[in-house]
């Protein structure tokens, strides 16, 4: 793996292993996550990129028989967020996630965005109002919904719903934002809006994105990690990975020879 020198890390996986029961899904993964940059995880289906992403907010804790080994350190606190002593809820309070399919709650647009704040016990209406507006603006949705904040979220189109989910994730001011193939259920226009949004958001938050779409990785990310059968094959600056990959496997994948 080629060295990327930066002292400005937000998180770092060190010797991470992950097991679904007896299946060894992630093998000794080490990866730096640069602060306020977009890191893309690419690779063929089943390579473990989503599994890896879901380690960052401890989603695997929701299901039995899953086990982590190793470390994911969150900087600057230097806390190992996958350690069993750390409450997964604490981790999720700081690391938000946007899912593959838009998954708004059966609530109003306003309440969807306010959800994270309410869960944290925020009561003040003024605080919530401000946060909701700021997050919806951040997700480039405010102008479209400001007159119908109290309509049900299901009234929105798929692309709008996904931006609503981004607003929901932003509302709690996360330190890292995880995207799990956020545009795979969307049409090209909605996709390009989300991509623009991701590029804008990195000014404020560190982003990790899993994507099937290599053009997407090339367009939105600063760093790219190519994964294959539970391992990281190559990690580098995105322009380097897509123009001069050092591994033959990476080259074969990005040129479409397999995957």
């Amino acid at each position: 793996m080629s060295a990327v020198t930066s002292k400005d890390l937000k998180a770092e996986a060190k010797g991470l292993n992950f097991f679904y029961g007896s299946v060894h899904a992630l093998k000794n993964i080490s990866l730096p996550i640069e602060r306020r940059k977009v890191t893309a995880l690419i690779g063929p289906s089943g390579c473990g990129k989503t599994t890896f992403l879901r380690c960052f907010n401890r989603m695997h804790d929701l299901y039995p028989h899953n086990r982590y080994e190793g470390e994911i350190l969150l900087y600057p606190d230097n806390v190992n967020i996958i350690s069993p002593e750390i409450d997964p809820i604490e981790v999720r309070m700081q690391i938000s996630m946007v899912f593959q399919k838009p998954n708004p709650f059966p609530k109003t647009i306003y309440e969807n965005v306010a959800y994270g704040l309410r869960v944290r016990g925020t009561r003040k209406k003024q605080v919530i109002d401000e946060r909701v507006e700021k997050s919806l603006r951040g997700a480039a949705l405010w102008e479209e919904v400001k007159d119908r904040l109290h309509n049900l979220a299901f009234d929105l189109s798929g692309g709008q719903q996904q931006r609503l989910c981004i607003a929901r994730a932003l509302a709690t001011d996360p330190r890292i934002l995880l995207f799990d193939e956020p545009t795979s259920a969307l049409d090209p226009i909605a996709t390009s809006k989300i991509e623009e949004l991701i590029i804008e958001l990195k000014n404020e938050v560190t982003i990790i994105i899993v994507t099937h779409n290599m053009q997407q990785a090339a367009r939105v990310s600063d760093y790219t990690s190519f994964m294959y059968i539970g391992e990281i094959i190559e990690y580098d600056r995105t322009d380097k990975i897509f123009t001069a990959p050092s591994s033959k496997l990476t080259e074969d994948y990005i040129t479409g020879r397999f995957g």
């Binding site: 907010n57 989603m59 929701l62 809820i89 999720r92 309070m93 938000s96 996630m97 899912f99 593959q100 399919k101 998954n103 708004p104 709650f105 059966p106 609530k107 959800y115 994270g116 309410r118 869960v119 944290r120 299901f154 989910c165 929901r168 994730a169 709690t172």
Partner: protein, 296 residues
């Protein structure tokens, strides 16, 4: 080119049989409604609808009869209301536990046991209310009469918990996992996820469960006949004896009221009222389900 093959004939016959069986259930329903309407019509020729709806006493078998349905409606609503106060929260809690918390093995034990609760004959529940619950309640509520609305109401509530919980649980289990994950990913606890996301997502199914529970409680006959007494009492006091629509119908059907008299037809007037109440709740339930249809 048309050719009648034996296969086609067989298909036709099967189709006809299926159609007739579907038709028979419709015919039965229609004829029930028809008889109900016909006999009620006979009743309302002799008793005005206004008296029926506004008179505050129900004394059809007295020398100077009074035909006010309100006491029976009130008795029905009172026992049903008490049953719902018991069944709705408990049914929902059971459903939340089964769908969100219970490990697979425990669910496999609890579900059949709950369904067993629905298999107990209602006459057993009735005597349970009269001979077990009422004496216990009387220790805490000295004013409680031997026949009262409270005890059968509570027992009916327990009786319909399985209906409420099993339909609610089905609705909650059907909420897709990625909706729950969305909530957990925001840092929500299991309890917050269950109450703020899963229950609202399953709302239409839960509403249907409520309606089933309400219809069951309104139509329940045995428990209230045994434990609520036979006094048509226009009251909202659960400590007093009341008579429900169903219990009245039983009482008159058992007695020796001659056919064709107005006393006899009161059964159908009460039955009609009962039918309209249940129908009303079913329509509300249907409307709720359509209006708050989930998008998943």
């Amino acid at each position: 080119m048309k050719k009648v093959t034996p296969q086609k004939v067989r298909e036709r016959v099967i189709e006809a049989i299926l159609f007739l069986s579907a038709l028979s259930s419709i015919l039965i329903t229609v004829s029930i409604v028809f008889i109900l309407c016909y006999e009620s019509w006979g009743f309302f020729k002799e008793v005005s609808v206004i008296e029926f709806l506004t008179e505050k006493d129900w004394m059809p078998l007295f020398a100077n009869p009074k035909f006010g349905i309100l006491p029976l409606v009130m008795g029905t609503l009172l026992t049903t209301g008490i049953a719902l106060i018991v069944a709705l929260p408990l049914g929902i809690l059971v459903a939340v536990y089964l769908s969100e918390y219970a490990p697979h093995k425990i669910r496999e034990i609890i579900k059949p046991v709950l369904e067993l609760l629905a298999a107990v004959p209602t006459v057993v529940y009735g005597y349970f209310a009269l001979l077990f619950l009422t004496p216990i309640l009387q220790k805490f509520l000295p004013d409680l009469s031997g026949f009262n609305a409270l005890s059968p109401g509570v027992i009916m509530g327990i009786m319909i918990i399985p209906y409420v919980s099993s339909v609610s649980e089905d609705a909650m289990i059907a909420v897709p996992m990625h909706i729950r994950e969305g909530s957990y990913a925001m840092g929500a606890t299991k309890l917050q996820t269950a109450f703020k996301v899963v229950i609202p997502s399953a709302f239409s199914g839960i509403a249907a469960a409520f309606i089933i529970g309400i219809s069951r409680a309104i139509g329940e006959t045995m428990v209230v006949s045994i434990a609520a007494g036979g006094m048509p009492n226009l009251t909202l006091n659960p400590l007093e004896s009341v008579q429900t629509l169903t219990a009245y119908i039983v009482q008159v059907s058992l007695g020796d009221v001659p056919h064709g008299t107005v006393e006899y037809r009161t059964i159908f007037a009460a039955g009609m009222t009962l039918f309209l109440m249940t129908l009303g709740f079913n329509i509300v339930g249907f409307w709720l389900r359509k209006r708050i249809r989930e998008v998943y």
